[in-house]
């Protein structure tokens, strides 16, 4: 098992919160396939993913410049730009690391799950790694970005050094 767990803060992305009676139809028209169940996500080319939070509520996330603007949506759809603080973890130990700060049982989650949970006292969204990947993407309200960055950096440092100590002994 790879004991490395890399952590980075994502900055160059576009992110929309799409709501309203027209949301599903508009997104289907723009992106094609949508997740059929709540709290699931679907990957699209170029690093774009769509997460479904309800019958008429979605997140659309992608690298900056990859997402169609608000003008692409119809009158019954409300599109709000999000500026979340987004973090990425990559490594086999991600499950153990998430247990340090989050009460959710990630061991039972499936590869296309998109979870809304409290992490380190802050409401976050967490994208469970897709199949054959160990990359967790998570985000929170940008005003908590500094706090989350500090907390995750510190806890990850402690986590890795504890892991190292354990491996050494």
């Amino acid at each position: 098992m790879n004991s490395e767990l890399t952590f980075s803060r994502q900055t160059d992305f576009a992110f929309f919160h799409v709501r309203g009676n027209g949301a599903a139809a508009d997104l289907e028209r723009i992106y094609g396939d949508l997740p059929s169940r709540w709290f699931r996500y679907k990957l699209h080319p170029k690093g774009v993913f769509l997460a479904r939070l309800g019958d008429r509520e979605f997140y659309v996330f992608g690298p900056a410049g990859t997402l169609p603007g608000t003008a692409s949506y119809g009158r019954e759809t409300y599109v709000f730009q999000r500026s979340d603080a987004v973090f990425s973890f990559d490594g086999d130990r991600y499950l153990a690391f998430l247990r340090e700060l989050c009460a959710y049982d990630f061991a039972t989650s499936e590869p296309d799950e998109f979870i809304l949970a409290n992490m380190a006292g802050v409401s976050c969204w967490i994208r469970v790694p897709p199949k054959r990947s160990t990359q967790v993407l998570m985000g929170c309200d940008p005003s908590y970005g500094n706090y989350m960055n500090e907390t995750l950096t510190e806890v990850l440092r402690e986590f890795l050094s504890a892991l190292k100590r354990k491996e050494e002994t």
Binding site: N21, F80, A120, S143, N146
Partner: protein, 972 residues
């Protein structure tokens, strides 16, 4: 000098590493041990039999339970206190001192307290110190000095030990035979299992009660091996299940911190606590529980004593006797309270070794030589279970192993909501009903023989796994409980001298409990509180059962009629540092945090946001705030208002939702306009205010106060669900930043930075416009919280940072300066605008806050309407403005100072400040309407008790016609 004298040859399952020697010190004396030793096993190996002093009488104490069930062996070192010697690993270089000692453990000056015992009866605190009253402080100081255990090192370094989470299908607490069997069975049925044990190794009692039993070895090895090879079983060793909480949450305290385990089902295979017999001097060093002696031998290869007597009421005592004999110890006799013929096959083996067994006898007293056990006095038991002094025998020994019974380790079962009753056949409390998903197995469940415990564990594990899939009823009934008791029904003997200890933690004797019952504390819960039985650090593990038995016999009741006390978390003491966990204290930054820091802001807390109170850390606070306020009035200033709550409300029925949520009418607001938005609860109390903007026919944007953004959002969401309206809400508080640019020059400054027409005609007061600001999307609202021409600009965080840089750049020509919350609060006070939470309290309604205009009584329905109708008629106080003049050197009243009328409280100050604009002191206060009706000035009592006179003034103090904010300089 040979230090280690009591170490035995290697034992088959010993925990020590004989290749790794360690050296430690007790009170400066050197002791030697091995890695793997506990502190007390190392001490006993070095013949240090006196390990501590008792809590109240400072009696000499040795090892008793050699588990976490008594506190005879408590130590402290340079960094910590109350270190439990029985269960704490010895570490090379340790320097230890006994905790409750004045002087040294051998020569404790406070042992004199033993002589005062006749004057310290049970409940003496309650009886002795209330008269004369004047002496109470003296007694209090004296008792405080003597009482308590350990000294807290207040200079210790901050120790943050993380808490973490763990999830499992089935949690099994207890790694003995039943627990191991349960874990394997549950995993075999497809469950993810977590097996927790407080010891360093799995095995539990099977590893010390049967360490040398070849018949058991293969079963034990097989279970341990299968567990290690089953990936579905996570094993947490050295973890104490500290409590049980709803929904199967079990915190497990480990050396690395608390693991909060959530399971779908839980099996408690927590075993039993061995109970001491109660006789005179039963606390002498050298008197062990039999299981303690077995643990010392099996785990640490330490010989408990040279010449032992076993005092038993069950077969386990014979097993302990045999273990002692096998290691070469001299057994001076076995005292059996019953008939040895009923104790099973070990008896003949022991007899064959020439050991005398005294059937139908009991230990009447222990006799001390040099402060430790020297001999025991044995008497026969008469027909009613009392000692028959005509048949006495004294046996020389330096060790006594007590094996007279057990009490279930059922605290977690009780906490889970389980019902227990006393089973006369088993001789202990056993579960009669358990909540769904909770199972008990092994001795805690009343199953005692090894085969039965394993079967019971298998059954519990299968039931737990079955419970997950709803198959419980198909799995059939559980194995039967023990049919023969392993506990003496009353292992207590009266002795006139009275040093017969029931609770070793609290130095409580048999006499104490009898006396408490005589004094009327004849209910088990009352007895506990009055006598403090079970209230020490061991929480009754070794004392509650005997306490119940004593009370039951005293009152002529059954054990069930007497009942047991409530078991509360924590099962074992948990260090505060572990409870505290990491310091997770979320805070929020606005997008302009760097801007504030670059401009030398002095921050204040506004909820979890740091907000600039003023700019210029090198300046005097009052000067800085006044300068900033003057600049807004004269010129232009900019304030970060990103902390305001920002909520989008949209959808076909958004209008209806808005009308119902707020007291004002929102549905008749024109698109592109905004309106003051006041929220009250069902009782008419003000909970929030802000501004509502109508962005389109079906779309509103609402701001809330900084502190209530989350609660206001939740409330709107809750109402939306409750009312089934076709509308949606989104909380965008942190997703958008906002600034307010205010002052007579604001329009001129901003006009060149936006494509929105800022002219008064195109963008009137309370208007809102959407467009671009320095090239990025923005929403602008023309509001006047500070009473000047002003514009709020709401943008995405990254865009706002750029926009503010551009505003500051363009504002150089206008001498723009940022202003903080201090100036903002002063400016709004001049305008008589309230701040919810400061100028309102938990009872304030809009009529009292002088805002009847904010309530549209014509609306058909809105939250709080009925209450407001009633409150309007019953209004008794009003928020009014006041001014006052202070004499030289007098200080300002404080917010919250009381308003006094004829020596009665008639109101309180909510805001007060020295106004740089008006050059006088202004404020707002709630004043009783009766006082206001009489007219005249009001009096405010300051913190120093001085009354200052204040004049009631009409609000607002500044620009009463609102020309400056509504029209701006060009039109004004």
């Amino acid at each position: 000098m040979q230090l280690v004298v009591n170490r035995l040859p290697p034992q088959p399952l010993e925990w020590i590493d004989r290749n790794a020697s360690i050296t430690a010190k007790l009170e400066g004396r050197t002791v030697k041990g091995f890695e793997g030793d506990s502190i007390t096993s190392m001490l006993l190996a070095n013949n240090e039999r006196l390990v501590g002093r008792s809590f109240k009488y400072h009696r000499r104490r040795g090892i008793l339970s050699f588990a976490n069930q008594d506190i005879n062996a408590l130590f402290e070192d340079a960094s910590g206190t109350n270190i439990r010697g029985d269960v704490t690993a010895a570490v090379d270089g340790m320097e230890l001192w006994p905790t409750n000692v004045s002087g040294s453990v051998a020569r404790d000056r406070l042992q004199i307290l033993g002589l005062m015992a006749p004057f310290l009866p049970v409940g003496f605190y309650y009886k002795a110190f209330h008269t004369p009253k004047s002496l109470f402080p003296f007694w209090e100081r004296w008792i405080r000095k003597l009482a308590g255990l350990g000294r807290v090192n207040i200079h210790a370094e901050l120790d943050r030990i993380p808490k973490r989470y763990h999830h499992t299908d089935v949690l099994v607490v207890g790694g003995g035979p039943a627990g191991m069997a349960a874990a394997l069975a549950a995993a075999g049925d497809g469950a993810r299992v977590t097996l927790v044990d407080e010891n360093r190794y799995l095995g539990g009692s099977i590893d010390y009660q049967h360490a040398n039993n070849p018949k058991v070895a293969s079963k034990r090895d097989d279970m341990k091996s299968r567990i290690s090879q089953t990936p579905e079983i996570d094993v947490i060793l050295g973890g104490e299940a500290s409590g049980y909480y709803a929904d199967h949450w079990t915190p497990v305290t480990t050396v690395d911190g608390i693991v909060k385990i959530r399971s779908l089902a839980t099996v408690f295979a927590t075993g039993v606590f061995e109970q001491p017999a109660v006789f005179h001097n039963n606390d002498l060093p050298g008197i062990f529980l039999a299981s303690a002696a077995q643990r010392l031998i099996a785990r640490y290869a330490v010989k408990p004593c040279d010449k032992a007597v076993v005092f038993t009421s069950n077969s386990e005592g014979y097993r302990a006797a045999l273990d002692f004999l096998k290691l070469g110890g001299e057994l001076a006799g076995i005292v059996d309270t019953g008939d040895s013929a009923s104790r099973g096959s070990l008896v003949s083996d022991i007899r064959d070794r020439g050991v005398t067994i005294h059937d139908g006898c009991m230990i009447y007293e222990a006799i001390s030589i040099d402060g430790r056990l020297g001999s025991v006095v044995v008497t026969a038991v008469d027909g009613v279970g009392e000692p028959d002094h005509t048949q006495r025998l004294r046996i020389e020994c330096d060790g006594l192993f007590m094996s007279v019974g057990w009490a279930p380790a059922a605290a977690l079962l009780y906490q889970a909501g389980g019902d227990m009753c006393y089973d006369e056949r088993v001789g202990q409390f056993v579960p009669v009903s358990l909540p769904e998903g909770v199972f008990a197995a092994g001795r805690v469940n009343g199953v005692f023989n090894l085969e039965g415990r394993i079967s019971d564990g298998i059954s519990a594990g299968r039931h737990a796994a079955g419970y997950l899939s709803g198959r419980t009823s198909e799995l059939g009934v559980r194995p039967p409980r023990a049919t023969r008791t392993h506990s003496h029904p009353y292992p207590v003997v009266f002795h006139p001298k009275g040093w017969s200890f029931v609770d070793f933690d609290e130095d409580l004797t048999f006499k104490d409990l009898e006396r408490a019952a005589d004094e009327g504390f004849d209910n088990i819960e009352l007895l506990k509180r009055y006598s403090t039985i079970g209230m020490g650090p061991s929480q009754g593990k070794h004392s509650n059962m005997n306490g119940i038995r004593i009370l039951a016999r005293k009152m002529g009741q059954t054990i069930d009629q007497t009942g047991s006390t409530t078991a509360r978390p924590f099962f074992h003491p948990v260090p505060m540092s572990k409870l505290a966990g990491r310091r997770l204290r979320p805070y929020r930054y606005t997008p302009l945090q760097e801007f504030h820091e670059a401009h030398n802001a002095v921050f204040m807390e506004a909820g979890i946001w740091p907000r600039p109170e003023y700019y210029g850390a090198d300046k005097d606070r009052k000067t800085a705030i006044c300068e900033e306020a003057r600049e807004v009035r004269k010129n232009v200033g900019i304030i970060d208002v990103s902390t305001l709550g920002k909520i989008e409300v949209f959808g076909p029925e958004a209008l209806e939702l808005m009308d119902r949520i707020y007291t004002t009418r929102m549905s008749n607001m024109k698109v592109g306009m905004s309106r003051y938005a006041l929220m009250v609860d069902e009782s008419g109390v003000i909970t929030d205010d802000g501004v509502a903007v109508r962005r389109s026919e079906e779309h509103y944007y609402v701001t809330t106060t900084t502190g209530t953004s989350d609660t206001a959002f939740r409330e709107i969401q809750r109402r939306l669900i409750e009312w089934h309206l076709d509308a949606e809400v989104v909380n965008r508080t942190g997703q958008l930043g906002a600034v307010n640019v205010a002052g007579p020059n604001s329009r001129e400054l901003l006009a060149g930075l936006t494509d929105i027409d800022l002219s008064a005609k195109a963008f009137p007061y309370m208007g809102s416009r959407e467009g671009t600001f320095v090239g990025a999307d923005a929403l602008m609202i023309r509001v006047g919280f500070v009473g000047e021409l002003g514009y709020e600009i709401h943008m995405a965080p990254a865009d706002l940072r750029i926009a503010v840089d551009r505003i500051m750049e363009a504002g150089k020509d206008f001498d723009i300066r940022p202003f903080g919350v201090g100036a903002q609060r002063m400016l709004r006070l001049e305008k008589g605008h309230i701040i919810v939470g400061q100028d309102t309290d938990g009872l304030t309604n809009p009529y009292e806050a002088a805002m009847p205009w904010a309530v549209n009584e014509e609306k058909e329905i809105f939250v709080g309407k009925r209450s407001l109708k009633i409150l309007k008629e019953k209004k008794i106080r009003t928020l009014v403005g006041f001014t006052l003049a202070l004499r030289n050197g007098e200080t300002l009243p404080d917010e919250c100072n009381l308003v006094i009328d004829e020596n009665e409280i008639c109101g309180r100050v909510t805001s007060v400040s020295e106004s740089p604009t008006l050059s006088r002191i202004i404020g707002m206060a709630y004043v009783d309407d009766e006082t206001l009706k009489r007219g005249g000035n009001i009096f405010i009592r300051k913190n120093d008790g001085v009354l200052v006179e204040a004049k009631v003034e009409a609000l607002p103090f500044y620009d009463p016609k609102g020309l400056r904010q509504q029209l701006g300089p060009a039109e004004g």
